[in-house]
Amino acid sequence: MSAVAPPPIADEPLHRRLGVTDQELGVIETKLGRPPNDLELAMFSVMWSEHCSYKSSKPLLRTLPTAGEVVVAGPGENAGVISIGDGLAVAFKIESHNHPSAVEPYQGAATGVGGILRDIFTMGARPIAVLDALRFGDPSDPRTRHLVNGVVRGVGGYGNCVGVPTVGGELVFDSTYGGNPLVNVMAIGLLEERLLTLAAAPGPGNLAVLFGSTTGRDGIGGASVLASATFGADEPSKRPTVQVGDPFAEKLLIEASLELIERGLVEGLQDLGAGGITCATSETADRAGTGILIDLDAIPRREPGMAPFEVMISESQERMLAVILPERWDEVRDVCVRWGLPVAVIGRVTADGDVTVVEGGLDPTGRPNPGALEIARIPAPALTSDAIVHDRLATPPPRQRAAAAPGLEPGPTAGLPERGMDPGAVLLSLIGGANLSSRHWVHEQYDSHVQANTVVGPGHGAAVIRIKGTTRALVAATDGNQSVGRADPWLGAALSVAEATRNVSITGARPLGVTNCLNYGDPTRPEAFWQLQEGVRGLGDACRALGLPVTGGNVSLYNESPTGAIAPTPEIGVVGLLDDVATRVGPAFDAADDAVILVGESTPGLFGSAYAELAGVAPEDGPPSLDLAREGALQVFIREAIGRGLVASAQDVSGGGLAVAVAEGCIWAAGGGVGATLRLPVAGAPAVELFGESPSRLILSCRPRHAPALILLARQHRLPVEQLGTVGGDRLFIELAGQGATGAAEERGSRIADAVDVPVADLAHAWRSGLARALGEDGEPASLPEDR
């Protein structure tokens, strides 16, 4: 079994080599009433891995709000499902494929897409959109470039072929991800509610049918060895644990699965992901309170000579387990054969509650043949719902003081925000930087239109996908805030929820639910577990405040490398519903002479901002605060304002602050951009007003005649509101007005200029060219291993 845990240490006992602790082995023996054999131990090792069992996070996740009157399926199912009326429902979920992508970026990312798509169509939903949230280290690092290139090609190679549009996501660079990139993929599907299919194995006597690709040696130990352990120096040796994807097989699997469901041929359906056959059989049996008897010899193999444990825990991709009535077998087989997919009856549902594996075959009644050998028998709950749960220690870290900015004396008087910068130059640097510039270099490698539903694709805020045959549309966004989270994991998580939901609300859509991918460090380290605990608390608090259910998600722990743990990264995915797609509002300024209006007010704190990344951070500075009640009011306000037809454009203030939000409105305007002339009252530090990222703020534009009504509506929602100026011309001009701009700043010795004054063409050029320049892709394409 050396393939499971390289490099083998000769005298290390098997369970440890499989990642099972001595304590866990003791619990296994108690549950079985005997020591497990080697096959059973392998099955436990994958099912009790962090990845499959959520053994560290389960107690935390139970605190999340999951109920809602429209929630049809919540956490615990393959994907959350929310009813949207008219007999339709939307299924969605986000999941990580971080470690496989670090080891083998193309296949890691590709199989990440494949895995989350299967979670969607397993529920009976046709996948209609993918969003991918990617996080890497320093873009100038050759290793980062290699990973970016491979991951982007992998996401595209898979998504383009299966014919599901990639409509959004993120690409973030932060040195925290240098040793451990994050690849989080969200998928959305649409289904008729009557076709909702659950992953259960009801009805003793029913057949367990495996269809899709054959079972091979790829991905052995993916869940246990790769996903649930910290990276050391032996990453290449883990390459055999990475699965290999075949999007063509997945496309056939989608069509065959949806046909089986539509024709009512399956009683239950489960995809095979982490833990392979072991996971699919034990989870479906446990959910139905049944058992499954598995005929090992009946499982179609990709290669001869596979050991039983390899067959049972292989993570070969593009496979599905269906539970069917025996009399449906001929029809089920015909559907699979028509789609060119191998299909086999691999077992029977039993009443004994055990997952049992036999060698030597079953007779036609489903009993083991005479002379057949029972090689494993484990109660299904022991592998899944009754798996071990650890009560981890959580300890907040000692308060860390942020480092002083270069060249500055550390101390409370370091007036960093007014360090004599030209704000126009700062704006150009920010909007042309690796994180805020156009992502088109990435998006143009993804098919974002296939299926003919994409109203708004990637690049300009939330994605909008119309629902064919209706006036309605789904709106989706992902957001994750690691830069604040590294100092305050509660705030980082709450801000992520606030931003993702805000991005949906500013199109006019009503957020329906939240899915999350929690990327954290080693849970056995008390500080990392504290970060996770705080993150889950922030997620729950924000969702409760905004009245949204958490419908599912994924936890990715052990995101650490020899250089340290990643900053806590709660990646939040939100899906919303727009009743009339014609009322949709986008972030781009719409027409000259429109009024530009700021809703909300800034609060102090530059920590975690793109500006701080550029200019450094004052030692005493902290992140801006978040008022969840204010955030909720803001989102209700903007939806109402859009519903009343008062708003021409809406953008939230986020990365790069108000100046970047306004600049985006200018650059993205139809016809090559438009300018704006604004007057920004500055009460405190100009840098905070221009570039601070305090949340719950919007930049709106509207027809001049609508401005009074819009301002009045904001006041009715008790929101600070101010008209800043008008759209027009070909320059972005922001005059800094008030005490803070000149008087106070000058008294403190500031040399900051009093205005931003930049041609929109310059902003557009910086924005468009920034990412390719950061990645060194503006010249010849780099020669990388994927360029075969």
């Binding site: 063509f248 789609w339 060119g340 490698q445 296939v450 299926q451 003919a452 539903n453 109203v455």
Partner: protein
């Protein structure tokens, strides 16, 4: 109602778009399974985009051997109208029903974005319903879309009116080579779509069938889909001989 077949290969994925576009254009789409050589009496055919048979060897190269393609070839020989879009275009060139070949994009990357094409002529069965010679906005999404033929073949194609669409800038000027973003794949002479000598088979890399409704960003592709539907209807109901081979030797 005119019935237009949409061929479904394993791996086709813009069949959804083609079916939608045909419905918008007022036709009845009929899905044709790749293993059946029976065209169910359809009046015209669309070979949709996607990755037929996974495109693992080379785009379109396996699909040409499928039973349905024998029937499609016979249909084309009889003068039936066949439109290949993206992967469908690749299949038609591999099957020898259209001239030229589609090579990997010069960037060596998949390219997905909105581009513009200019119809070279409005008198073909695939362009007759387009309102005017103007740049038509629609998406491209492909990894192997660089149109290639030797110079003599390109000259002959141009002389015979075989070039149906070229990539252009929004002002209508023809796109340059691979360094020009308006030419998304580096196609020779910016050729985006061609027709055969008889004029009844056409292929193009961009996706008119995804640009048929304003809500999707553009309905400029509808004229192309309508042209196919009108031509097929006319041929089926024998109103008058189809305008084929205009300018063809």
């Amino acid at each position: 109602m005119v019935r237009i077949g949409v061929v479904l290969f394993p791996g086709s994925n813009r069949d959804i778009d083609a079916v939608n576009a045909l419905q918008v254009a007022g036709a009845e789409p009929v899905v044709l399974w790749h293993e059946a050589a029976n065209l169910q009496g359809v009046d015209g055919i669309v070979l949709p985009g996607g990755f037929a048979y996974g495109d693992y060897l080379r785009a379109g190269v396996i699909a040409r051997f499928s039973p349905v393609m024998r029937a499609v070839a016979a249909f084309a020989t009889e003068g039936g109208h066949v439109l290949g879009i993206c992967n469908g275009f690749q299949v038609l060139t591999e099957a020898g029903l259209l001239p030229g070949a589609l090579l990997r994009n010069r960037s060596l990357r998949f390219v997905s974005r909105e581009i513009a094409v200019m119809p070279e002529r409005l008198d073909s069965p695939f362009t007759r319903a387009i309102d005017a010679r103007r740049p038509l906005r629609m998406p491209v999404a492909h990894g192997e879309g660089c149109y290639f033929a030797d110079p003599a073949a390109l000259d002959a194609l141009e002389a015979s009116g075989g070039v149906l669409f070229r990539y252009v800038h929004l002002d209508g000027t023809v796109a340059g080579g691979e360094e020009d973003r308006a030419n998304p794949n580096g196609s020779l002479r910016a050729i985006a779509g061609v027709t055969n000598a008889a004029g009844n088979v056409a292929g193009l890399m961009p996706h008119p069938e995804t640009a048929v409704e304003v809500v999707l960003g553009s309905d400029d592709g509808l004229g192309i889909v309508r042209s196919l539907v009108d031509s097929a209807a006319e041929r089926a109901h024998g109103a008058r001989p189809v305008v084929v081979g205009v300018g063809v030797r």
